[in-house]
């Protein structure tokens, strides 16, 4: 069905609203039009696609998301990547990625066992323990497991060096002897704060640095459900791993020869 001028205008208006606000509640009149008018929806989705973006809808919100690659837009995450792009700084970025992943894994529960979101918080200390356990387990595994690629093992070593050796556990505030994660550096707890900053900046979590607790917000669950509870996306990711593994092996073999 042809799209009329009005739909284009409203579609564009809604797209820019999304671009501005990232998440728009369905109670918003334009969002409501997006929900009910399929032509308007396709206008918005096409504009987004042109910019390497995706729009998705839940019963409560409309979200605008970046794509893994090919997006014209930066965000708090790409900004972090940028910050740690140097060869030496890269292990910081890797460690941050691992912390984000462990945090996501920890809060990702079957929807029916989730309690109310404000109670799902995780303490900094627990997260730090999980990171330590994960890294240590990988280090032990690579000793006797050929499945781990050389690349991966190298990266894990670098991260382990950073997390286990270079970082102290936490640092106290100079003012009042409390644990200070926002103003201290080079310690595990403050790096958790840094690593999760992209999530906090986007309003997906509440990072309570006084109580040393991180609380996922419902919008984060909406994204997790949409992105990772999807068979197709999982298969795509597996494929990506396979391809990359093959390339890596070829490279390693070539080096041997």
């Amino acid at each position: 069905m042809p799209v009329n001028q009005n739909q284009i205008e409203e579609g564009a208006a809604f797209f820019f609203k999304l671009l501005n606000e990232q998440i728009v509640p369905l109670s918003d009149p334009l969002a409501e039009k997006y929900r009910s008018d399929s032509e308007l929806r396709s206008v918005v989705n096409s504009i987004a696609a042109e910019g390497g973006l995706r729009v998705f809808m839940t019963p409560q919100h409309v979200h605008l998301l970046s794509k893994a690659r090919g997006s014209n837009f930066a965000n708090s995450y790409t900004q972090m990547k940028e910050k740690y792009s140097g060869l030496k700084r890269k292990r910081y970025f890797y460690l941050a990625n691992i912390i984000i992943s462990i945090f996501l894994a920890e809060i990702d529960k079957e929807s029916h066992v989730r309690i109310r979101w404000e109670e799902e918080g995780i303490s900094y200390y627990r997260l730090a323990d999980l990171v330590t356990a994960t890294i240590t387990a990988w280090q032990e595994r690579k000793e006797d497991d050929s499945k781990f690629s050389q690349q991966w093992s190298l990266a894990v070593d670098q991260i382990a060096e950073l997390w286990l050796t270079e970082f102290s556990e936490f640092k106290l505030s100079q003012v009042d002897d409390s644990v200070d994660v926002t103003r201290t550096k080079n310690n595990r707890l403050s790096f958790i704060n840094t690593a999760l900053k992209p999530l906090a900046d986007q309003g997906l979590i509440i990072d309570n640095s006084d109580e040393l607790k991180i609380i996922p917000k419902p919008v984060l669950y909406e994204r997790i459900d949409h992105l990772y509870h999807d068979q197709r996306r999982y298969k795509d990711f597996k494929k990506l791993i396979e391809e990359s593994r093959k390339k890596q092996e070829e490279k390693e073999n070539a080096e041997i020869e």
Binding site: K81, D108, F148, S149, W152, Y228
Partner: protein, 497 residues
């Protein structure tokens, strides 16, 4: 006496009765579970009591205990069953039939004093000893309290039973007792209202719950729910019928009764609110089912925790750490502030005016003004940009937030040329190699126009010829903001070889 100790003795009576329930008998492997069994037994007796069921003799108690044991998948001999029941009826050696006794601190006397109580006592009226009937047991006030206390926590029984209980008390003219029961009714309906509100939020957030939480939440049709509310309404009406009879009572009791019905009025209003909420939630469920049928098809769901993280990455690693980016990046929304594709930035400006117009739509004075087309003043532009390029020449970089340090009228000069924002954005978005040109032509990159005008004015800029101009984001810095319409991310312009 301080506040903390106020009512301590009364509280201790309740916690002692709870903590000692079913304790102190030797039942071998069942020892750890006697408390649970005993509480369950009290509940069973209580339900029979309020339903006027007279099957509450010792033999009935033993039979109920046998049911509980079976339900909990334990086994017990007849002796053990009997010992259990005795242990709820009496303290110590059953042959003594002694009441339970405990020394509790009385904050008023400032000393310990004995508190004696039982969990079950004979229901004299129901026992019909005269006709040779065996003893029918009923709960004491103490054990009723245990049930009320735990009911608050566990929401042990439904609204309808609470209502029924209240009605019985009203019928007996026990208004004082009935009033506290109405308080429970109100507390209960409040909890139910809160539950409905939470449920609404939950299914909005996660429609899959309609499917997955079905077992926890009684699955009822709207007709059933409506009928239940009608029934409950009827019980309220029954209760209110007793209001007319208040006249028969006198003095204190009449006053109690009036207070009771005031409370009951509140309970009824809350109940109506609950009914409203529940019905609207049911239609919401229906709507979600209708509009998002896909959520009920999805059966083979994956999860981040199990599939992506534990089974894939934790167990076999990745060939390349950078793959983690592929995993995480799609979680994030684009942020407009960081990169401004030129034409989209203008669209935003247009949207802005479009929204503004809508705001003023109702005002009669609103007149559409033709935007004044500003003349491009290259003289001024060159003068302004000269500072920027001098800085680039000197230190190789120019942080945009320097603009905010400029004096107010200098800022106004920057703002007077719309071109400035555009030029900045062009520098930010793409790199450009600075070069000398022989002549201007339409479509020539305006940055080069600017650079060449600067060259004309100041020979020292020749040192920049052949260098590349690029930009990077200054992390952690504030956005650069001049006036209302000039807003840009905190970039630093660089020259590199």
């Amino acid at each position: 006496m301080d506040e903390a100790s106020t009512g301590l003795y009364e509280r201790l009576k309740k916690t002692a009765a709870i903590s000692r329930l079913g304790q102190g008998m030797d039942l071998g492997e069942l020892n750890d579970y006697t408390h649970q069994i005993a509480l369950y037994l009290l509940l069973k007796v209580f339900y029979r009591e309020i339903n006027n069921n007279l099957q509450r003799t010792k033999n009935d108690l033993i039979e109920m205990t046998a049911q509980i044991i079976e339900e909990m998948k334990f086994t017990a001999s007849n002796e053990q069953l009997e010992r259990l029941v005795d242990g709820v009826l009496y303290s110590g050696d059953p042959r003594q039939q002694a009441p339970f006794s405990v020394m509790l601190f009385d904050e008023n006397l400032r000393e310990h004093r004995e508190f004696k109580y039982r969990y079950l006592v004979p229901d004299r009226e129901a026992s019909r000893w005269d006709e040779g009937g065996s003893t029918v047991y009923m709960l004491t006030e103490t054990s009723q309290e245990i049930i009320f206390l735990t009911r608050e926590v566990l929401q042990e029984f439904g609204f309808d039973l609470e209502q029924f209980y209240t009605l019985q008390l009203i019928k007996n003219g026990n208004f004082t007792e009935a009033k506290s029961s109405v308080s429970n009714l109100i507390a209960r309906v409040r909890t139910l209202i809160k539950n409905e509100k939470n449920w609404r939020e939950d299914i909005m957030r996660n429609p899959g719950l309609i499917f997955s939480a079905r077992q926890e939440r009684k699955k009822r049709t709207e007709v059933e729910v409506r009928k239940q509310f009608e029934d409950e309404k009827k019980v309220f009406n029954d209760m209110f019928r007793w209001r007319d009879r208040l006249g028969r009572f006198s003095g204190e009791q009449k006053k109690e009764g009036e207070l009771l019905f005031e409370e009951l009025e509140r309970a009824r209003a809350l109940h109506d609110r609950l009914a409203e909420l529940t019905i609207s939630n049911l239609s919401l469920e229906l709507e979600i089912r209708r509009e998002n049928p896909d959520i009920f098809w999805k059966t083979a769901q994956t999860s981040f925790k199990k599939d992506f993280w534990q089974d894939t990455i934790i167990s076999s690693g990745l060939s390349d750490m950078d793959l983690l980016t592929e995993l995480i990046a799609p979680l994030f929304s684009p942020e407009q502030g960081f990169i401004f594709p030129l034409d989209w930035a203008w669209s935003e400006q247009q949207l802005y005016t479009y929204l503004q117009e809508e705001d003023y739509e109702d005002e009669e004075e609103w007149e559409e003004e033709e935007p004044v087309l500003k003349e491009l003043d290259w003289g001024l532009l060159v003068e302004l940009w000269e500072r920027v390029f001098e800085e680039l020449l000197r230190s190789g970089q120019y942080p945009l937030n320097k603009l905010t340090l400029l004096a107010a009228d200098e800022q106004r000069r920057w703002l007077s040329q719309e071109k400035n924002l555009e030029l900045f954005m062009m520098f930010i978005i793409t790199e450009i190699r600075l070069r000398e040109i022989n002549e201007e032509f339409a479509g020539l990159d305006e940055r080069l126009v600017l650079f060449n005008k600067l060259l004309e004015k100041n020979q020292q800029f020749k040192r920049l010829i052949g260098k590349k101009m690029t930009a990077s984001l200054e992390t952690g810095a504030e956005k650069v903001k001049l006036g209302e319409e000039f807003e840009i991310s905190p970039y630093i312009l660089y020259v590199v070889d």
